[in-house]
Amino acid sequence: MALSFPIYMDNHATTRVDPRVVEAMLPYFTENYGNAASRNHKFGWVAEEAVDYAREQVQKLLGARNEKEIVFTSGATESDNLAIKGVARMYQDRGNHIITVKTEHKAVLDTCKRLEREGFEVTYLPVDSKGQISPDDVKSAITDKTILVSVMLCNNEIGTVQPLAEIGKITRERGVLLHTDAVQGVGRVPFHVDTMNVDLASISAHKIYGPKGVGALYVRRNKPRVRLKAEMDGGGHEAGMRSGTLNVPGIVGFGKACEILSKEMEADIAHVKGLRERLRAKLFGALEMIHLNGADDPWRHPGNLNVSFSFVEGESMMMGIKDVCVSSGSACTSASLEPSYVLRALGVDPELAHSSIRFGLGRFNTAEEVDHVAEIVIREVRRLREMSPLYDFHKEGIDYKTIQWVAH
């Protein structure tokens, strides 16, 4: 098959909607456009039935016991906000302490920071050089004021998987609620809310080949029954936890995406892992001084390859490989002028953080694409190294860390 450009390898940012998902959604824009909250006519019933069916599809993917435990939202950012603020405000009489991790998504970190300004106390656990937290750290951070632990399943930048099952044992034993941002991990690594003792889980449709603008929060209803203070006031939809007319076509697509993932998970994982290994073997085989950021299997997202190419800055790499869509942890790709906080939390040297590229492989990538991408990445790294003074130092055997640099 002929390659089409640009090649998309940024599947942690978002994914292409699976054609089967689009097909499932279409009738809910045209014929079945009812409001799922309309109780008195056919249009409403059809919409409600479709939403309930989707709820079951999502429930099955998460391993939840009851479809009522699924609350539809606008996406994982909203789910994270609802979970953390909702728990904090509901249980503030019981305690004011929350535990999370330095490498969490901003939807979790910034929510926690807001709560700190409101008087909550938050512990941000450190990670090791692979990006993992230690369950012992969770155990020792829990106090009698702790009401919630929030640990992501799988990191969006470096693909590191957290030992959630072990953490779930601890939180259950100590009677503390456990929330996980499972956006990147669900369907890619083992995840089951019941066996892992997860009480709240955020997921998003567009990361699993569904549409943008729809997500869900799993809220455990039994042992323990988790209660949340709603963020929005309104019609009391979603058992009062999330008011607002349901995005029926989006929810239908989300459900379909979950169903496909449930059925095809094994093949999907094998496919992306095969491509990732193919890419990794080619890059590491051809280039010296390249570094894998994050953990290795089984603690790595199967489609994530985050690597730093020493002596080459990430944004210039991305300009060089302009026919390939990837991401970088370089400051130059953001407005902040700081390299990735995730890589810095791992203790990665700032210059290597500036040199990082994240390849996110997905369901629709092919081996031909990987071969082509590897070829142009290798060519560009070589070209950019030839114009890098740091590479000259390396070849001359000078450790540039010993040079007195003047920060500007």
Binding site: E313, E315, M319, H354, P389, Y391
Partner: protein, 145 residues
């Protein structure tokens, strides 16, 4: 972020990539930036001591596309100019020529610093070869913001 055609041209076909002999008394070398900040520029000039004209300029840059383009443009501009003329190079000229977005202005500042640092190095060497008596007459590089 959409970059200007000129910037992309300098990034894709950078002018004057390379290295000059740093031990040559007529070569001035400037090394500015820091790896931890994500950009390092080395810019070198070769000056005709009789005419004070910059006859060659080379650079190597670790940095984003704007940093590479800024240093490429700087070498192109200083070539053929006298050292004094090159001292008047302003980062704002680079910003204008490459149409750098606001977050990339520091790249042009770094390129200006690299040129001035190379000139300062050249003048220091010249002063050293002329001996101590003439040393005082050598103009020192101006501080700049």
């Amino acid at each position: 972020m959409a970059y200007s055609e000129k910037l992309i041209d300098h990034y894709e076909q950078p002018r004057n990539v390379g290295t000059l002999d740093k031990d040559d008394p007529n070569v001035g070398s400037g090394l500015v930036g820091a790896p931890a900040c994500g950009d390092v520029m080395r810019l070198q000039i070769k000056v005709n001591p009789e005419t004070q004209i910059i006859e060659d300029a080379k650079f190597k840059t670790f940095g984003c596309g704007s940093a590479i383009a800024s240093s490429s443009l700087a070498t192109e501009w200083v070539k053929g100019k006298t050292v004094d003329e090159a001292m008047s190079l302003k980062n704002t000229d680079i910003v204008e020529e490459l149409n750098l977005p606001p977050v990339k202005i520091h790249c042009s500042v770094l390129a200006e610093d690299a040129v001035k640092s190379a000139i300062a190095d050249f003048r220091k060497k010249q002063a050293a070869t002329r001996g101590e008596t003439q040393d005082k007459s050598v103009e020192q590089p101006h501080a700049h913001d």
